[in-house]
């Protein structure tokens, strides 16, 4: 009885007793969820268009962030002044680097592996991850760097709200991240639904051979979609880096995107956002209110258990396409 009370009733009592704390935890969860959603967005883009689960998305985020900071430092070294000119120039150059990366990946990894089974392509992205880790560390060194948030005019400081009987503090950079993520999601959704290239991308995701027979150039499509994922990776890198440092260990965050993708469905852009928010809030609430019962640090696996429970009832995720199997 005692245990049942502790698990089922006490956390809710605690939530109601300190509603400002609840609001703070939910806000933190939302912020975390938005950041997960940004990473998941990169995965969804590539999966939607080429059927490849790009494990290298995590390292692409780190690589993009490192490139941004590195190029900014080089530009400052050349004496480019004022700082925001250097920052935005660095941003443009980083986009160019991601385009070059997209072209290289398409030529060297995707083109030779056309029509291979999915697990082979998945493993190829593993190889790509290892390669980018080594390459990035070689170019930029292994030390953590500070994201150029100020120079990019990202807002700093926090807004304090006096609601619900207490204080809730919202970091301005988190609000900016949420706004940027929403804008990106809307733009990407419009892109996929309404433009010719978006339709071509969806066609390629359905079947490579059929898309080829209709005259869609697979190579161009793949370059476009990997470049789009690269752009998403840059934005994600900026947002993640602004909250903490930019370092190579950040790439394991990619694994956290998996429960988000499970919840939202692998091919749905709004699904990635909804899944991210659900996982983020669920994780934080679970860690804060139920965590002390079991032992702290349950954040590392709670997201997966949430995703697992979801899978048992709805295997295709909230927004994913139903899997039809034929014998």
């Amino acid at each position: 009885m005692e245990i049942l009370y502790k698990i089922l009733i006490d956390p809710f009592v605690q939530m109601v007793a300190a509603p400002d704390l609840l609001a703070q935890v939910v806000w933190e969860g939302l912020v975390g969820g938005v950041l997960y959603a940004l990473i998941a967005l990169g995965f969804v883009l590539i999966f939607k268009a080429s059927g490849v689960f790009n494990f290298a998305q995590g390292i692409m985020v780190v690589f993009a962030a490192m490139t941004l900071v590195g190029v900014y430092e080089i530009l400052r070294g050349f004496g480019v002044y004022p700082t925001d000119l250097a920052a935005y120039l660095a941003l443009a150059l980083t986009f160019c680097v991601m385009l070059v990366l997209a072209v290289a990946v398409e030529r060297l990894v995707l083109r030779p592996l056309v029509n291979q089974p999915d697990i082979i392509l998945f493993m190829a992205t593993f190889g790509l991850t290892y390669f980018l880790i080594g390459f990035g560390e070689l170019l930029f060194g292994g030390n953590p760097k500070v994201m150029i948030a100020e120079q990019l005019h990202l807002p700093r400081g926090a807004i304090e709200l006096k609601i619900l009987g207490g204080f809730v503090s919202l970091q301005k950079v988190d609000i900016a991240a949420a706004v940027v993520a929403s804008i990106m999601v809307i733009m990407l959704a419009v892109f996929f639904q309404s433009t010719r290239i978006g339709r071509a991308l969806r066609a390629v995701a359905d079947s490579h051979k059929a898309a080829l027979s209709v005259g869609i150039s697979l190579e161009q499509i793949w370059v476009i979609v990997w470049f789009a994922a690269g752009v998403v990776a840059v934005i994600t890198g900026i947002m993640w880096g602004a909250r903490s440092q930019v370092e190579f260990s950040l790439q394991v965050i990619a694994l956290k995107a998996l429960p988000v993708l499970i919840l939202g469905g692998f091919t749905s852009i709004p699904g990635a956002v909804v899944g991210g928010v659900v996982i983020g809030v669920g994780e934080k609430l679970g860690e804060f209110y139920w965590g002390p019962l079991i032992g702290s640090g349950i954040e590392s696996w709670l997201a997966y258990v949430i995703a697992l429970l979801f899978l048992l009832f709805r295997p295709q995720g909230l927004f994913g396409e139903k899997i039809i199997e034929r014998v």
Partner: protein, 358 residues
């Protein structure tokens, strides 16, 4: 020309269905066993035995375990590291609780615990398929990693959180612990690995292996012809986790001599998965070849600059190693997606018709 089977007639069904029907194959296996049991312990240096051969055997066993699950039954699993850890910690608890029992018996018994945990995390496999099942096994991996840190009973409430292997001996010779000789440890590992590979080979070539392969190829059709899906998948999880558990116990007891919770993290799972994919999904020899490739390559890369007389900064060598391993994985997948085992099969086929091209 070398590999012809002309003149080798079979006069009974058993002889025809043997795993190695061709005489040249049998001679090859005998040679490999002689080299492994007799020549290598006598000629290899202690460094090669401790740092190359023993880990190779341990990872081959883990790769066989993962191959049974992913290669033969088609259930993608990313929880290998966690299952290896369960075996290792189980063996540690068993040997500290019963110090007089033979440690080899305990190593093999610790696989049972790993199999039980594997079945537990394999329960979702009836509802969930393919890539989504990988997420379930990832949940297992992260949960087990958390358990290894949180549950202090597992490492006997040791302050450091790490486990250290006590000295155990057999027939008066120390097998585990700091005083054990590398050759002794190598021979014990070799015996266990050879015995378990033989069991795996029999399983795979028999009825159970065919059930697993039917589930992999098309599970709905397998159910239609009467194969019980749930039992087959759970059996695959159980056997696979058993092998991974024993591999984990071997890793801690006969190779490293100590372990901490971080030794069985997600990187270990990915490492074994690489070995299985590069070696060839669904092939026993592929497990060995993949383990040799993935384990041996960084060692060769590290030794290469000194070999060629170049002096490169150690950190740079590390980065270059990552780059080369990644590039080679991609290269291998492009050249032969079915892995090294397929290359070996092609080689054997060429040998059969040599000097003709086909």
């Amino acid at each position: 020309m070398l590999y012809r089977e002309c003149g080798q007639y079979k006069t009974s069904y058993e002889a025809d269905q043997a795993v190695f029907p061709i005489l040249q194959d049998r001679i090859g296996i005998a040679t490999i066993l002689v080299v492994a049991f007799i020549i290598l312990p006598l000629t290899a240096s202690n460094f090669v035995i401790s740092s190359v051969l023993i880990p190779l055997l341990v990872f081959s066993l883990a790769a066989i375990g993962l191959n049974i699950l992913t290669g033969y039954t088609g259930l993608i699993s990313l929880g290998t590291g966690g299952f290896m850890g369960v075996g290792a910690y189980a063996c540690y608890k068993l040997t500290t609780a019963w110090p007089d029992v033979n440690v080899v018996v305990l190593i093999v018994s610790s696989g049972v615990f790993s199999a039980a945990i594997g079945v537990l995390f394999g329960l979702p496999s009836l509802r969930i398929k393919g890539f989504y099942l990988a997420v379930a096994t990832l949940a297992a991996q992260f949960f087990l990693s958390w358990c290894f840190i949180r549950i202090a009973w597992l490492y006997n409430n040791n302050v450091s959180g790490a486990i250290e292997v006590p000295t155990r001996s057999m027939f008066g010779v120390a097998i585990t612990g700091p005083t054990a000789d590398p050759v002794t440890r190598y021979l014990v590992t070799l015996v266990i690995v050879v015995a378990m590979t033989w069991v795996a080979s029999n399983l795979i070539h028999g009825r159970i292996g065919r059930m697993w392969m039917a589930v992999r190829d098309m599970d709905i059709a397998a159910e239609l012809i009467g194969i019980e899906l749930y039992q087959t998948k759970l059996l695959a999880f159980a056997v696979s986790s058993f092998y991974c558990g024993v591999a984990g116990a071997l890793m801690v007891f006969l190779w490293l001599g100590a372990a901490e919770a971080d030794s069985f993290n997600i990187d270990q799972s990915f490492l074994v998965l690489f070995m299985v994919i590069i070696g060839g999904l669904g092939s026993l020899i592929g497990s060995f070849l993949g383990a040799a490739f993935i384990w041996g390559l960084p060692i060769m890369l590290r030794a290469a600059p000194a070999f060629f007389g170049l002096s490169i900064h150690a950190a740079t060598v590390e980065h270059l190693q990552f780059m080369i391993v990644g590039a080679l994985i991609i290269f291998f997948l492009i050249v032969e997606p079915h892995g090294l085992a397929r290359l070996w099969q092609i080689g054997k086929q060429k040998l059969r018709v040599w000097p003709f091209p086909y």
